[in-house]
């Protein structure tokens, strides 16, 4: 129940902070997964495709993330000039390390979700007894 306007704002801020924290790792997973599916992709395409599945990422956030993951050796970037009209685009694809990492990330993410499900079950079994 939202009791007041002030409380609504406090909640909004709390949710916002929590979302920022939880999304930090989640976005890495989304981006890497998308690149894996597409084999290679560039910034603008990543933003467009993610927004189609309601994953909102600001371009000001995405590019520094891609840059960091490249530096970490998860991604490799190549400039493509031929197959596109007008201007060059920086395409990212997964490195071997990136692929291994993504696999582990997916497993961990799955585990997290299962753990959360298990917690719900604890509650359910308590009610039964």
């Amino acid at each position: 129940m939202i009791h007041s306007y002030a409380m609504y704002h406090v909640m909004k801020d709390l949710i916002k902070n929590w979302l920022t924290q939880i999304k930090k790792g989640y976005l890495d997973l989304c981006i890497l997964s998308l690149i894996e599916t597409k084999k290679k992709s560039y910034g603008f395409e990543i933003i467009s495709l993610l927004s189609e599945v309601d994953v909102v990422i600001k371009e000001g956030t995405l590019y520094p993330l891609l840059s960091r993951m490249t530096k970490d050796g998860l991604l490799v970037a190549t400039w493509h000039t031929e197959e596109v009209l007008g201007h060059p685009r920086k395409f990212y694809s997964l490195t071997k390390l990136g692929k291994v990492n993504l696999k582990k990330m997916k497993t961990e993410y799955q585990n997290l979700y299962e753990t959360y499900d298990n917690i719900k079950e604890i509650g359910a079994s308590n009610e039964q007894t």
Binding site: Y42, G43, F44, S48, K58, E59, G60, T61, Y63, P64, L65, S67, R68, K71, W79, G86, H87, P88, R89, K90
Partner: protein, 308 residues
């Protein structure tokens, strides 16, 4: 600003804000962001360059994200509008104080004004008013030395030099009109008048200190003194306020004065080596000589005029 200029401005700001990131990586980042902006323009013809840049965020913020992702400390955050207003406020205050200063300067101008006929020196537009003829100074209405004009007393005498080795006469006087002339007698002669602020009568004080004869006036107020000094004897005058006149002297003269007027009338037949200095005021033309036998005349005045 054209679309192209806005894009370039954004990229320039971004490049600057990327701070310690290596130059080659900076170039890569700039090219990629530029590529993104071009993509966004092509794919969304309805969006203006402003919309696209706004969506990207302030260049400083984008740069900070790059820095943070690399574990580097971000540069100072972009200026919040309030900072801009504070700066404007500060500059405004500064401008107002500068204007006030100008007004004050104008009010106190001229910084120094010498009136020869009336024998006055006005400093800071009359804040300090030196009346040489009376040996009197007043500061912003407060007058020094003119309170007891009715108690003016005369005193005179001489100091016989025969049999003594005195090379220098040192004169210490405040608020005085001093006239120095040469005398043919072998003595220092004085003829003074002064007013006293107490019951004590003003009197001359003469002291011998080695080869130096010191001359002072006790209870010195509104003092007027005529001094007769033998030729060749060095003359050393220290004074605060007044008018100091040196008439055709054949002596080395050294004067240090604060406010007032120094009149040095040279003897046409003699040569003088002048060293003159006025901090605020004027110096008349003096014709000096570099000869060894020239008398050394060193006159130093802070506020006022040196004339011949």
């Amino acid at each position: 600003m054209s679309k192209h200029n806005k894009l370039e401005m954004y990229l320039i700001k971004l490049e600057k804000s990327l701070g310690s990131i290596p130059i080659s990586e900076k170039a890569e980042i700039i090219t990629e962001i530029k590529s993104h902006i071009l993509d966004a323009t092509e794919n969304n013809s309805g969006a203006s360059i402003d919309d696209i840049l706004k969506s990207l965020g302030e260049p400083e913020q984008v740069a900070n994200k790059y820095l943070l992702e690399r574990g580097l400390s971000p540069q100072k955050p972009p200026k919040h509008p309030i900072v801009k207003w504070l700066v404007i406020g500060f500059l405004g205050t500064f401008a107002i104080s500068a204007a006030m200063t100008l007004v004050l300067l104008f009010k106190f101008s001229p910084l120094i004004e010498v009136d020869e006929k009336a024998g006055t020196v006005k400093i800071l537009g009359g804040m300090i008013d030196v009346q040489e003829s009376k040996g009197n100074i007043s500061m912003s209405g407060l007058s020094f030395g003119s309170m007891n004009m009715n108690l003016n007393k005369s005193f005179s005498g001489n100091f016989d030099l025969s049999g003594k080795i005195i090379e220098e006469l040192m004169v210490d006087l405040d608020n005085t009109k001093l006239i120095v002339e040469n005398t043919d007698a072998n003595s220092v002669e004085y003829d003074c008048s002064a007013s006293s602020h107490s019951d004590e009568s003003p009197s001359a004080v003469l002291k011998v200190d080695g080869k130096v004869l010191k001359f002072m006036v006790s209870q010195s107020k509104n003092t007027k003194c005529e001094l007769g000094v033998p030729k060749k004897m060095s003359l050393n005058v220290n004074a605060k306020n007044g008018k100091f006149i040196f008439e055709e002297l054949a002596n080395n003269v050294n004067v240090n004065a604060l406010n007032g007027k120094i009149v040095f009338s040279p003897d046409e037949k003699l040569k003088y080596n002048y060293k003159l200095n006025v901090t605020n005021g004027k110096i008349s033309d003096f014709t000096g000589s570099e000869d060894n036998d020239a008398f050394k005349v060193e006159l130093k005045l802070i506020n006022g005029k040196i004339t011949n």
